[in-house]
């Protein structure tokens, strides 16, 4: 999976609104979560300070609950600095060639997110859930209570999951900002 391949997949991906338009009914949970979350002033300041362009590919499914609960968080962050964080959403089944190469635990899991440098050189991959999401899911699946499917996500869980994703976005941004290769290229 090299830069050329990743660029071709990025170019074939959809922006957020175009992706949600592929199934307006299934997009409803995505919109609810989007409305439920916002960045804190400190998070917004941090993202606005980013200098390096970082394309992001999200392998996803519009039907997927984990995607509905995590992709809107990524989108909120991207909107805070749209010239630096450019996200494209790729349906897992439409782009099966990509999904096959990023299987997790033997499964075609979504969302799986690929972070790249401005020239699409791969930097990092993260999926399918962050630690906060896993702790919450494990408590539901392995613990004594089991909420109904589609039950609202607690606000503190969403906020902490957003912070998990922001930590990885910030880590990738700093990796790129401090990269000798890119500092030489940009003279900074």
């Amino acid at each position: 999976m090299n830069a050329q391949y990743l660029k071709s997949k990025f170019d074939a991906g959809l922006e957020y609104e175009a992706y949600l338009a592929t199934d307006t009914q299934k997009a409803q949970p995505w919109r609810s979560v989007y409305e439920q979350v916002s960045l804190t002033p400190a998070q917004r300041r941090l993202i606005e300070s980013f200098k390096r362009e970082m394309p992001v590919i999200v392998s996803t499914g519009i039907w997927c609950g984990d995607c509905a609960q995590q992709c809107p968080l990524i989108q909120r962050m991207a909107e805070a600095n749209p010239t630096r964080i450019r996200v494209r959403y790729l349906d897992r089944d439409v782009h099966a060639d990509l999904a096959e190469q990023i299987k997790i635990c033997g499964g075609l899991r979504v969302p799986t997110v690929i972070f790249m440098a401005e020239d699409f050189e791969p930097v990092s991959i993260l999926g399918d859930r962050t630690l906060t999401r896993y702790r919450a899911v494990a408590a539901r699946q392995l613990g004594p209570s089991c909420p109904l499917p589609g039950a609202p996500v607690p606000q503190d869980e969403l906020d902490a999951t957003l912070q998990d994703w922001l930590n990885e976005i910030e880590r990738v941004q700093l990796l790129l900002r401090l990269s000798g290769r890119l500092r030489e290229k940009h003279g900074d």
């Binding site: 999976m1 830069a3 400190a42 300041r45 941090l46 606005e48 300070s49 200098k51 190469q101 990023i102 299987k103 997790i104 635990c105 033997g106 499964g107 690929i114 440098a117 020239d119 050189e121 791969p122 930097v123 990092s124 991959i125 993260l126 399918d128 859930r129 962050t130 630690l131 896993y134 702790r135 899911v137 494990a138 699946q141 392995l142 930590n167 990885e168 910030e170 880590r171 700093l174 990796l175 790129l176 900002r177 401090l178 990269s179 290769r181 890119l182």
Partner: protein, 193 residues
Amino acid sequence: MLMNASFLKRFFDQGVPYEVFVASGEREGHRPQWDERYSRLELDAPQRALVASFTREMNILCLTGTWCGDCALQGAAMQRIAEANPAKINLRFIPRSEDHAELIVKNQINAGYRVPVTWFMAEDFEPISRLGDRTLSRYRSMARKALPEVETAALPPPPADPIREVLRETLDEFERVHLLLRTSTRLRQKHGD
């Protein structure tokens, strides 16, 4: 980036345990930095209890170099974690050498041959995650030193203990991977739990 199970197993089988790897750097004088980090990274009681509670086996391969300071820090942290549950955590180290060129070339980060790069795998070597090269706290620390203040003003204050902060970050990924494995339908069916 994540590779496949047979590829990862092939390189895992070529990896060595921590002590053998650290000893391989003795002649060049690389050992003290690993020993120093290790001495400062003992797990506290809640961390030990968390790792001891892991019930799924996980295989971990760290591509690294005895000369590399970040590798010594992350490597020692991973070893401390692995020692808290040796029945479930199988940790191996593999040097960034020509012998492992296939692994190295296929796992460039930002077009560079960076270390450390660590793969977390299920019991059957199916890939779960790839971590590398530095953790967020290490990158923040570097940014504070290397970038103008105007660019780092939005960063949070440094942690009280930067060494143990890397242990915390590394342990977070161990826990995440373990929960992914523990809640995996495929593995729950296999183990009937």
